[in-house]
């Protein structure tokens, strides 16, 4: 796909969770690459496994109730699954940083913004309190917080939602990571603030040449910020494609369903497109293709065996047995 070696390579990752009904596979055989400097979107509905995938990369899946059941996560050639905790601590926040959805709860209410940014710098750079705080002021300025020298002493509850998310981004950027994982970073924000944050992320990424794994359920946001997209359904990746290809000519019926369901694309006075039914529960996955009970193109063969994620066109892969024989509608 990309010429240079990818910075992150997730290979056949599987994660299980203990539920009331036993072990359930919530991330199943997931593989994808993130190239240096690119933004890969990870898209899916709630419960599709996209957040668990991102936490698994950081080795932050709560265990118990979770556990790894297979796969490798290669970051610059090092398998993070095998890395001992000490090594992981050197990677987290330094080489790979993360921004979460809820800036209200993901910042510690008991410490100042500056303290929380500075501590990451101190841990990874081994510098003193003063220079670390100066660095905090620097990154707060970078993310567009006005009068950072004063604001560095503010507590999270003294910031607005948009400012908190900027602060969270500043915290992630403080050590100039090579990869930023952003888990629904704009979902809790108003649209005008979302536009600010997306613009900010785009600018910072270009400036630092950082790679980004952007997790979202919003296809509009995907169109705005991603270079390539991986679509997840029921714990599996069902399609990987360049962002233009995905929107013009999706390769999987589920992607088509998601695109068509965008209300912007509906016509007034006509029913909105829906994917019938609901996603399956992890303990009751359908046999064969997991999407077949909801798929308009399903045929008996789809229940036969699980389809593989096959390359259909250059740069595009789809987990659909019928991808060669059907033509799907894009968003145009």
């Amino acid at each position: 796909m990309t010429a240079a070696a990818p910075i992150l390579s997730v290979e056949r990752l599987s994660v299980e969770f203990l539920t009331d009904r036993g072990w359930a596979t919530v991330v199943d055989d997931v593989s994808f690459d993130v190239a240096r400097g690119e933004t890969l979107g990870l898209v899916g509905e709630s419960g599709s496994g996209k957040t668990v995938t991102s936490l698994a990369i950081m080795q932050l899946v709560p265990m118990p109730p979770g556990r790894f059941s297979g796969g490798r996560i290669l970051f610059e050639g090092t398998d993070l699954v095998e890395l001992p905790e000490k090594g992981l601590q050197r990677v987290r926040g330094n080489e790979i940083a993360m921004v979460f959805q809820e800036s209200m709860t993901s910042l510690n209410p008991a410490f100042t913004i500056g303290d929380q940014i500075a501590e990451a710098v101190r841990v990874h750079r081994g510098i003193g309190r003063r220079p670390a705080l100066d660095r905090a002021v620097e990154v707060l300025d970078l993310v567009g917080i006005p009068s950072p020298r004063e604001r560095v002493h503010a507590y999270p509850h003294e910031f607005s939602g948009g400012m908190r998310q900027r602060a969270a981004i500043a915290m992630a950027l403080a050590c100039e990571p090579k990869l930023l994982i952003a888990d629904e970073p704009t979902t809790a924000l108003d649209v005008t603030v979302q536009a600010q944050v997306l613009t900010l992320l785009r600018e910072l990424q270009q400036r630092f040449g950082m790679a980004m794994l952007f997790i979202t359920h919003n296809l509009g946001v995907v169109a705005d910020i991603c270079d390539r997209v991986a679509v997840m359904y029921a714990g599996q990746i069902v399609e990987v494609a360049g962002v233009d290809a995905l929107f013009q000519a999706p390769g999987h019926p589920y992607t088509e369903g998601l695109l068509q369901a965008m209300p912007q694309l509906g016509r007034r006075g006509e029913p909105l497109a829906v994917v019938p039914g609901v996603p399956p529960m992890p303990w009751a996955m359908p046999a064969g293709c997991r999407f077949h009970p909801r798929c308009a193109y399903a045929e008996p063969a789809c229940t036969a065996g699980p389809p593989k994620l096959d390359t259909t066109r250059p740069g595009q892969a789809s987990r659909c047995a019928r991808s060669a024989s059907i033509t799907l509608r894009g968003s145009d």
Binding site: E45, S46, G161, G220, V222, M262, P263, P271, V274, D332
Partner: protein, 324 residues
């Protein structure tokens, strides 16, 4: 006053008093500030705005779930802000509401049967076998089978719960349904199922909707008319297509520009510089036009004079000094 309107809201204001204790001054939060709009029978009016714009407060004030500080809410000639006790309860069936959070809006200790039957029981409409039959019919109307009747809310998904909430809200055959972010908590596919259900119900029963939302895509699809709110005020109203295609207010413009569209090539071209800053605190709203602190086209007058609503070509009104 438009006499054809089913609901007529005039100069509605809602004030919350917060804080107040020894030595701590009590502060006033004007969540809704002089809001007026009307809804015709069978019409869908969408109230859109970001958080803190007062849109949910408008919904609750219309429902008389909170007391307005001033203004009137007239339903079919009756000002419901003046009603109390029995008289208020008698008018309630005409005006029903569906709430945002499908998880906390159903009493966890009640069977679905009792949840849906409650309005009919409270208003003594039906009893016995007739009640059972009506409840079954209601569930079917919202696309749920009668076998769900003897289950508890915990057994249902968000989308199903929202269907149950709708069944309960239409049980009394209201002429107006207030939908407060009723689909916001749902995944897009489930959201569309509910939106389609609402469209079906409107066709079948001629119910008018007051549709509160922050999602412009959804609003464009479902609404006949739109009212855009900012910091407790309506800044622009008008027919949906006019709002989206011949936008009059700079805030509406910014709002529309901020929503990314699902077309990467187009989106790359149309990216506008986003609005600067955050919504000001409603505890200390800026003087003059509430939007002037973020408005790219603000003039000196905007920070002193509050703009009046003036008519716009294509229908509706706008409150902006650019249009004076």
């Amino acid at each position: 006053m438009n006499t054809n309107h089913l609901l007529e809201v005039r100069d509605l204001s809602v004030v919350f008093r917060i804080g107040g204790g020894l030595l701590a001054p009590r502060r006033e939060l004007r969540a809704v500030n002089g809001v007026s709009f009307g809804i015709a029978p069978g019409e869908t009016l969408a109230v859109v705005g970001e958080s803190g714009s007062g849109k949910s407060t408008i919904a609750r004030a219309v429902m008389r779930l909170i007391e307005p500080a001033s203004g009137s809410v007239v339903l079919d000639g009756t000002d419901i802000t003046q009603l109390t006790g029995q008289a208020l309860r008698r008018i309630r069936p005409r005006l029903q509401m569906v709430f945002q959070d499908p998880y906390s809006s159903l009493d966890p200790s009640k069977l679905i049967r009792d949840v849906v039957a409650e309005p009919l029981v409270v208003h003594r409409r039906l009893a016995g076998a007739a009640l059972d039959a009506r409840v079954e019919q209601l569930l079917e109307q919202v696309g749920l089978g009668a076998y769900h009747l003897d289950r508890y809310p915990y057994e249902f998904s968000g989308g199903q719960r929202q269907r149950i909430a709708i069944a309960r809200a239409i049980a009394l055959e209201p002429s107006l349904l207030v939908l407060d972010e009723a689909v916001s908590a749902l995944d897009v596919s489930t959201q569309n199922q509910i939106l389609n259900l609402l469209a079906d119900l409107r066709r079948a029963h001629g119910i008018a909707y007051l549709f509160i939302s922050h999602d412009l895509g959804v609003v464009r699809h479902i609404a006949d008319r739109v009212a855009v709110t900012y910091l407790g005020r309506i800044v622009e109203t008008g027919p949906t297509e006019r709002i989206f295609t011949a936008t009059a207010h700079p805030y509406t413009e910014a709002l529309l520009a901020a929503v990314p569209i699902p077309n990467p090539a187009l989106q790359r071209q149309r990216r506008a510089p986003p609005l600067v800053g955050d919504i000001p605190s409603p505890l200390a709203p800026p003087p003059g036009c509430p939007f002037h602190t973020r408005c790219p086209r603000a003039m000196p007058v905007c920070s002193t004079e509050p703009p009046r609503h003036v008519p716009v070509d294509g229908g509706g009104t706008v409150a902006c000094h650019l249009h004076d």
